[in-house]
Amino acid sequence: MITSFLADQALLEDIVRILFVFVLITAAFILSTRNIASLLTVYAVQSFLLTLIAASLYLIEGSEKLLAMAALTLVSKVLLIPLFINVIGEKIKISRDLEFNYLEPTASLLVSMGLIMLSYVFLSGFFDEYVLGKLFFVGAVIGLSLTLMGMLVIFSRKKVMTKVIGYLTMENGVLLFGIFVADLPFVIEILIVIDLMILVLLTTILAIGLDSTKNEYHKRLQTLKIWSGREE
């Protein structure tokens, strides 16, 4: 019964489509949410959705690699990274990222619509969906647009923490794109994730330096009044 249910291709594809929609929604949240804690949660949810997508793809295609990737994503992106960032977030007592530059949330949502269209048009130029099944094509589109939206987050939000999350979103997009377009060797995937972890580690640690509101930290920076080397 369960197996037959799991064997039902059409249904699974519908599920994946629904997941796509959810992914986009999370992206929209990340674009507009001000509270960093909730941003983090949304990101975790997004990663979890990716895990589900990978899993259901495994059910459709049945290559273990996809399953492993699902597991990897679950471990790294749903658990470790959010946890770590949370810790840092505690250290620097900021919970909210209020300023936006270039794009207010509403505008950025509209822009992201445009992005989705653009990535559709773009990809349709290269993969017509007959080569690469319809579902997969849509997945690719979603992946690409998610990447672009992540970038949107990076430049439209002020605080480094938010930017980090934007970067992570981009990475999710790339992952999604990768899943649907090509199945890279698994070793590579692992390395990529490691690389991602290190990067997040570094950036968040640095974020302390920039986002922190602790005064004595600032004082310590003031004492070294070197690097007067700015022309503006």
Partner: protein, 647 residues
């Protein structure tokens, strides 16, 4: 390796040693030694160039492979030999002069550096002329520019010297850029870097021609690219100004000739362009020289004028050649080259003398001089020789080359094309005006500087410069007279015979007649007439005062009035009256200011535009991460669209 090559190598090695020694042992004697080395090398070069020009046999040098697929070669044909002769004629005077002159630099280090750079500069110029292919040419061209730049900056403490340095550097790298363009296009065309014969249609060679014309024009100081000269020369030490004006400009002309003579089928409009450019620089150069009262600026402008004359000659050569008048073509080409040689001599002489004057008085402003002939008689005599030959008075050398060009012009009735004739008539009258103005200019310069009463304290207390400097000046002075008197012999020696008047005869006759007059006056019983020394008559003023003398700008006043259109003088005056009705004039001041035309309408606008653009562009770098990522974002979107529709 025959004797010829040995001479060249000897000269090069001597110069290299001259360059390195002062860095190793830093003492007065080393400096002296290195200058004597450059003197020695120029003697060798003199022998070398003389033989090559006389025998016409060209030495062969081994190629030195220094880049894959490209050798560094040296070559010397009669053209390069001619310009080596020029270098060898100027360098001796300069090096002897410098032995003493360098010692007046501010600090020991500067003395050494000046010595080193001067030698390097000479070496670089020599190597440019000797270079066998374009790359070698460019390399030493750059070294030449650099060493001269650092010499211009030798006294970097003053603001205008800094400005001069920056300006000179920009201009010279512009000229190098144009040379790059020209040489690269030639390289692509011929497939080799050698200076070979260019048997191509002129239409193909248009780009290289224009690029090289502009590139060499900038370096030679052709209007409107001349602006760097009046800035760089006052900044440089006088010995270096002598080298720059005397030799470096000629090196640029050498490069241009090197290209032009290798073209088998040029077009007539090239010649027209060259001759127009030449005449323009000639007339504007001397006209601008008139308004200057800084002696070195004035001399710099007169260099511009002389370069203009040389280019006129080159243009004449091209036109006559294309019209099939070989004889006239040769006449004007040799005339131009000979004028280059002569200008090298008398301009270096004049700059050296100017250096002595500046050294003696401590200022460059002519208005401060006066009466120096009493205090510096030797310098005055040498300067007079320089002025006489630059003003083109027979039998000095400056006259001979102008004579050749004039004759070429006068015979131009043989041309067929009426329009060309008209062009030549116009340029001829410009040329005539130029030469007359030069005479006027140097009457002014010599008269205001040396004659009458000293105008300021520094001129009153000036003393004659030490012997080495004088003998350094004496060499080019002697050469000026000799190369004038023996011009026919020299040209005949090198195989040119144009049947121009024999200066030796005319010179002897002139001396003879003057002597005859003198004797006549003495021996006809009039020598007994008493002579008396009495104050100059000043309309009843008892003691004459320097302020009564004509000043430099006052001397120029009629010309400024005549050429108002060119000078556009802005005269501003203030007057005060001792009564309310403003009838009785108490006192007042008048200022005259000449707007710098090319600076205002060519240089500054360009510079300004570049600055504005660079300002706008540098505002992109606003230090905000958001902005930067935004750029990336936009770029990515653009690229995606681009790829979608162009792939």
């Amino acid at each position: 390796m025959s004797l010829l090559e040995a001479l060249v190598y000897g000269a090069i090695i001597a110069l290299i040693f001259g360059t390195i020694l002062p860095l190793l042992y830093r003492s007065k004697n080393t400096r002296k030694a290195s200058f004597s080395l450059s003197f020695f090398s120029s003697i060798l070069l003199l022998a070398f160039a003389g033989t090559v020009l006389y025998t016409g046999k060209e030495p062969t040098f081994p190629a030195f492979g220094f880049l894959p697929g490209l050798n560094f070669t040296m070559a010397a044909d009669r053209l390069s030999a001619g310009f080596i002769l020029l270098i060898a004629a100027v360098v001796p005077g300069v090096s002897i002069y410098s032995i003493e002159y360098v010692e007046h630099a501010k600090s020991e280090a500067r003395k050494d550096i000046q010595t080193v750079l001067t030698n390097l500069f000479i070496l670089a110029m020599l190597m440019v002329v000797l270079a066998g292919n374009m790359v070698g040419f460019l390399i030493f061209w750059e070294i030449m520019s650099l060493s001269s730049l650092m010499l211009v900056l030798h006294d970097y403490s003053s603001e205008e010297n800094k400005k001069a340095g920056i300006f000179y550097f920009i201009m010279t790298s512009l000229s190098t850029a144009f040379l790059f363009m020209g040489f690269i296009s030639l390289f692509r065309l011929t497939g080799s870097a050698e200076f070979g014969h260019l048997d191509y249609a002129a239409s193909i060679l248009t780009l290289p021609f224009l690029c090289l014309f502009i590139g060499f024009g900038i370096k030679a100081g052709l209007v409107p690219f001349h602006k760097w000269l009046p800035y760089a020369h006052p900044a440089a030490p006088s010995s270096v100004s002598a080298l720059m004006s005397g030799v470096m400009l000629k090196v640029a002309i050498y490069g241009f000739l090197r290209f032009l003579l290798s073209v088998s089928a040029p077009e007539i409009w090239w010649g027209v362009l060259i001759i127009i450019g030449g005449s323009l620089s000639a007339i504007l150069g001397v006209i601008y020289a008139f308004r200057e009262s800084d002696i070195k600026k004035l001399l710099a402008y007169s260099s511009i004028e002389n370069v203009g004359i040389i280019f006129t000659g080159i243009g004449l050569y091209l036109i006559f050649k294309l019209e099939g008048l070989e004889g006239l073509a040769m006449l004007s080409l040799v005339g131009a080259s000979f004028h280059a040689f002569n200008h090298a001599l008398f301009k270096s002489l004049l700059f050296l003398c100017a250096g002595s004057i500046v050294h003696a008085t401590g200022t460059r402003s002519i208005e401060a001089f006066g009466g120096l002939i009493k205090r510096m008689p030797r310098t005055a005599a040498l300067f007079l020789i320089g002025s006489v030959s630059i003003a083109g008075l027979p039998p000095a050398n400056g006259f001979v080359s102008e004579l050749m060009l004039f004759q070429a012009y006068f015979y131009s009735s043989a041309l067929q094309d009426p329009l060309l004739k008209v062009l030549l008539i116009i340029t001829l009258s410009v040329f005539a005006l130029t030469s007359a103005l030069v005479a006027a200019l140097f009457v002014k310069l010599f008269g205001i500087t040396f004659l009458a009463l000293p105008r300021t304290k520094c001129a009153k207390e000036a003393i004659e410069v030490p012997q080495p400097m004088l003998s350094g000046e004496a060499i080019p002075a002697a050469l000026c007279i000799l190369s004038g008197l023996f011009s026919n012999r020299i040209l005949a020696l090198f195989g040119f015979d144009f049947g121009i008047p024999d200066m030796l005869v005319i010179g002897l006759l002139l001396v003879g007649v003057c002597g005859f007059v003198w004797l006549g006056v003495r021996n006809t019983g009039f020598s007994k007439t008493p002579r008396r020394s009495k104050e100059t008559w000043g309309c009843g003023i008892l003691a004459q005062h320097p302020t009564m003398e004509y000043s430099s700008i006052g001397f120029s006043e009629p010309l400024i009035a005549i050429f108002k259109k060119i000078y556009r003088p802005e005269i501003s005056s203030t007057r005060t009256y001792s009564d309310t009705k403003e009838c009785i004039f108490k006192d007042g001041t008048t200022k005259i200011h000449f707007p710098k035309f090319f600076e205002k309408h060519l240089y500054l606008p360009v510079a300004h535009t570049v600055n504005v653009i660079s300002f706008q562009v540098s505002r992109m770098q606003n230090g905000k991460l958001g902005t930067y990522v935004f750029y990336v974002f936009i770029a990515v979107l653009t690229l995606m669209t681009f790829t979608r529709y162009f792939a």
